[in-house]
């Protein structure tokens, strides 16, 4: 299993808080890797919300190629975080030349483009870089998006955090997702590490998606360049969410109806039965299977958690207005928000989607048997 921790708060915090929470839950992961997703950034990035930030790992040669590539496109570096690393990397953590977190100015000729067009271009650039990097094995690119930073590395989460000095003051965020990895199915490939990212949408999962292959075949045939990679069976959770929100124009409340639809009497008696039946049939190719707890972050800064149809993985949400955390285990939650009202902790079950909205005032529970918001 893996362990998940996510947090949303009015005040930006350090990612080390999340890594500490993972460390508390370390019985559930083997320390084979860590992934971090930061959004709604604090510190210096607070003043550059629109600047796209590139996150990744590069060799010296890779950086040179990146600079040439970005320069040719007209991107100028606006701000960057420099990671000064100790000479020797800790045991189990590979040596890398450069961990890159760099904010860019858009090219001048891009001015006036709407966000949708920008989003498309940013994704294409990320995919292009990824392809270039895979060819020469000199770049690994995690995200290229405004107000988003991603860091992934092999090794024990806390060790990696200390090694990279992630407790530094200029690296904080109001929304953080972190995954401590249990490496089981796949050779350690950082593209198989959670969280996964696509056009402002990110998810991470504790579990295994046994319906991976048919879902992958379906997504691949959507003719959308972002549905690629598939190094991990959990990556499709991000893709499906992206498809539901952007491709089908549905809301987060409908996500669970796509990945684990209702059936039987629950479906027949649902106020939106007709729509849900239609969704269930049309989207049958995206029904997930196996034990999965999915935590995700949406472009509006909401965080959410859903469980598989049988609720086979642990997951809990708790906190207080202004600060909420999602964790695989209660001990993870206790480590970060000990002063919350524990009686209000919520463990989403097989029908629930737990959402903490951008205002961070409450945990909204959306049961699959509830009416859906109207289609728009």
């Amino acid at each position: 299993m893996c362990r998940l921790f996510a947090m949303t708060g009015d005040t930006p915090i350090s990612p080390m808080v999340a890594l500490n929470a993972l460390d508390v839950m370390r019985e559930g992961h083997d320390g084979s890797g860590v992934g971090l997703f930061l959004r709604d950034l604090g510190g210096p990035f607070d003043d550059m919300k629109n600047a796209p930030i590139l996150s990744g790992i590069f060799t010296k040669n890779g950086i040179k190629r990146l600079d040439t590539f970005m320069m040719n496109l007209g991107f100028m570096t606006k701000y960057k975080i420099s990671f000064k690393l100790p000479k020797n990397s800790p045991q189990g953590v590979p040596h890398r030349d450069v961990y890159l977190v760099r904010a860019y100015e858009y090219p001048e000729e891009w001015e006036g483009r709407n966000f949708e067009e920008l989003g498309k271009e940013l994704m294409n650039i990320r995919l292009q870089l990824r392809e270039m990097g895979q060819a020469e094995k000199d770049m690994i690119v995690f995200s290229f998006w405004p107000d988003v930073i991603m860091i992934k590395e092999i090794g024990d989460p806390l060790t990696v955090g200390k090694y990279l000095n992630l407790g530094r003051e200029d690296l904080t965020a109001r929304v953080i997702m972190a995954q401590g990895r249990q490496n089981t199915n796949y050779a350690i490939n950082l593209y198989a590490c959670h969280p996964f990212f696509l056009q402002g949408i990110s998810t991470m999962t504790n579990g295994e998606n046994t319906a991976f292959v048919p879902i992958k075949e379906f997504l691949k045939s959507r003719d959308f360049p972002g549905y690629t990679g598939f190094q991990s069976d959990s990556e499709v959770f991000t893709h499906i969410l992206h498809y539901a929100l952007k491709g089908l124009g549905l809301s987060i409340e409908a996500y669970k109806h796509i990945i684990t639809p209702l059936y039987g009497t629950d479906l027949e008696t649902h106020p939106d039965a007709q729509l849900l039946k239609q969704l269930k049939q049309s989207c049958r190719k995206m029904i997930i299977d196996g034990p999965n707890c999915v935590i995700g972050s949406l472009p509006d800064h909401s965080l959410f958690m859903v469980q598989d149809r049988k609720k086979l993985r642990p997951g809990v949400v708790g906190g207080h207005p202004g600060q909420y955390a999602f964790a695989s285990e209660i001990c993870g939650l206790d480590a970060v928000i000990p002063d919350r009202d524990k009686s209000k902790d919520f463990q989403p079950m097989h029908l629930d989607t737990a959402i903490v909205g951008p205002d961070r005032q409450e945990i909204n529970i959306c049961r699959q048997t509830d009416p859906l918001p109207p289609l728009h």
Binding site: E208, A211, F218, S221, G247, Y263, L275, K285, K310
Partner: protein, 544 residues
């Protein structure tokens, strides 16, 4: 044999027969049950000669031998009366004195069953033992990375869809605009394939229908049965049970006068309409109901005179191209029920299946495609069609699924596979393998006949006389003296047994694979086979 006995080219000895009757004189009581029950009169009571040595007890007389006669069972050697190996004689013998054995060498009968220039026709199966489906293993076992599911206790959603499924974008758009959404049925993935009223006896048909009704109404299993090309009894057409029935229309249009006229009286819509263009057992040939079986009842339901053979044309006579054949007919049938009933074609497995499929993907009314592989069975066909014509189902289905997947249309046109599923008894494993290769569901006929009614056919050319109405079990006979051997209620009960055990076995397969939320259609990563070429052809894993 007397030296002057005429020997003709077709004179065969018992040794030349494919089935040889072994009869035990010591056990036989000469009750006559075996000769009475033999469907093909292969045996008769006959007189045999025996020599007996009479030992002299006196000093002056010598011992001698005398010849006497005794009565016993003799097997005929005339090819018209050849034993078919059904072993009904064994079944009825009170003393287990008689049993047919398969010849230890290839029978010579095959060279002589074309008397009068008429090639052999028969029913049954292809008579090739084993099959590829049995070699496929399920190799992706969940244990620790994800816990295995409990087939007995967890909930499983294993239903499938029959009908044209709109792509997600279109589905939502049609819903919002209140546009036409093609009818889609949520059904159980194991269907009883098309076996006609006429091919099957009344108790067999009734038993199947009762079993299906029970599964639906008492056990909440949405099992569907296809009529085959023989129409449908009028009372069934006007009952609520019609919703469990897929009506088949084929090139003879038998029974469709009755069906069309019953439409205004139908209480419910049928599950679907299957347009038969081909059949796995006799590809490129039409249906065949031989005159033996066309009695008054069958003739009335089919709208034909009694006592004549009913060969359906190999193709639908009103059509001359795939575009017309498929588009016009699907549209006409859809229109007949107000576009509320899915209409799909069934073809025999063929290397041209992709052409048909690609045509269907462009037809918004096409609700699916059923493909019947070479191992499909039949009530009557020419021997050569059964033995040599057709395409194996596995690669045909896989090609179609991968073609749909490449177009992004997988499961939008559900594929239903048939032909040899469970032919060695491994029904659930064969069905699951085909589903994971891409089938939305499977159709079975022979398995049901064997399991629910005790059909004697095996892959050794045993029995196979379904065509002439002499089925010794009464399954495919229209002779009341034969079909009264079959009890419809018992057939129904066996149908229910079959489905319940299949359901458990299917769960026992999908649970260890970590699947329970939906039928694992196209889950090819779970499949492996120890044959490299097959693995490559089917795009599954090669395991040794």
């Amino acid at each position: 044999m007397p030296s002057n006995r005429p020997i003709t080219p077709s004179s065969l000895s018992i040794k030349d027969q494919p089935w040889q009757i072994h009869w035990d004189k010591d056990k036989c009581t000469l009750c006559g049950s075996c000769t009475a029950v033999c469907p093909v009169n292969a045996i008769n009571l006959d007189v045999f000669r025996k020599r007996k040595v009479e030992t002299s007890l006196g000093l002056n007389s010598s011992s001698s031998s005398v010849f006497k006669v005794y009565h016993g069972i003799r097997q005929k050697t005339d090819s018209a009366y050849a034993c078919v190996g059904c072993a009904m004689c064994t079944q009825v013998c009170p003393n287990d004195a008689i049993m047919p054995y398969k010849s230890d060498e290839a029978g010579k009968l095959i060279f002589h069953v074309n008397r009068g220039g008429q090639p052999r026709r028969r029913g049954g199966r292809r008579n090739v033992a084993g099959g590829l489906l049995d070699q496929i293993k399920f190799i992706r076992i969940s244990m620790l990375t994800d816990p295995a599911l409990d087939a007995g206790r967890h909930e499983f959603e294993l239903r499938t869809l029959l009908g044209r499924v709109l792509p997600p974008e279109e589905g939502i758009a049609h819903f919002k605009e209140k546009g036409w959404i093609p009818p889609v049925r949520e059904i159980y993935p194991l269907l009883i394939g098309s076996m006609s009223f006429g091919a099957l006896s009344p108790p067999m048909w009734e038993g199947l229908q009762m079993g299906v009704a029970y599964l639906n109404e008492e056990l909440n299993m949405p099992v569907r049965i296809c009529t085959g090309e023989g129409g449908c009894p009028p009372r069934l057409l006007r009952s609520r049970f019609l919703q469990y029935v897929i009506l088949q229309i084929a090139s003879g249009y038998f029974g469709w006068d009755e069906i069309i006229h019953a439409i205004p009286d139908m209480k419910v819509d049928p599950c679907a309409i299957e347009i038969k263009y081909g059949q796995g057992a006799k590809p490129g040939d039409g249906g065949l109901l031989m005159w033996y079986k066309v009695n008054k009842l069958i003739a009335a339901i089919r709208g034909v005179p009694a006592g004549v053979s009913l060969p359906s044309p190999p193709t639908h006579q009103t059509q001359y191209s795939i575009e017309e054949s498929v588009a016009k007919m699907i549209q006409s049938m859809s229109m007949a029920w107000g576009f509320r009933v899915p209409v799909y074609p069934k073809i025999s497995g063929t290397s041209t299946a992709l052409a048909v499929l690609n045509n269907l993907t462009r037809n918004p009314y096409a609700a699916g495609l059923a493909i019947d592989g070479e191992d499909g069975g039949t009530g009557a066909a020419y021997d050569v069609s059964m033995n040599s014509m057709g395409h194996p189902i596995a690669s045909n289905l896989r090609d179609c699924y991968l073609d749909l997947a490449a177009q992004g249309k997988q499961n939008e046109i559900p594929l239903f596979a048939g032909g040899g599923i469970g032919k060695t008894g491994n029904l659930a494993a064969n069905a699951a393998a085909l589903i994971m290769l891409g089938a939305s569901g499977v159709q079975v006929g022979k398995y049901i006949m064997q399991a629910a009614a005790g059909c004697l056919g095996s892959e050794t050319d045993r029995c196979n006389i379904c065509n002439i109405g002499l089925c010794p079990k009464g399954i495919t006979s229209q002779d009341p003296r034969l079909y009264r051997r079959l009890n419809a209620d018992e057939v129904a009960q066996r149908v229910v047994d079959v489905y319940l055990s299949f359901d458990t076995e299917l769960k026992k397969i999908v649970a260890p694979l970590g699947r329970s939320t939906s039928l694992p259609i196209g889950m090819s990563d779970a499949l492996g086979i120890n044959h490299r070429d097959v693995a490559e052809r089917l795009k599954i894993q090669y395991v040794v």
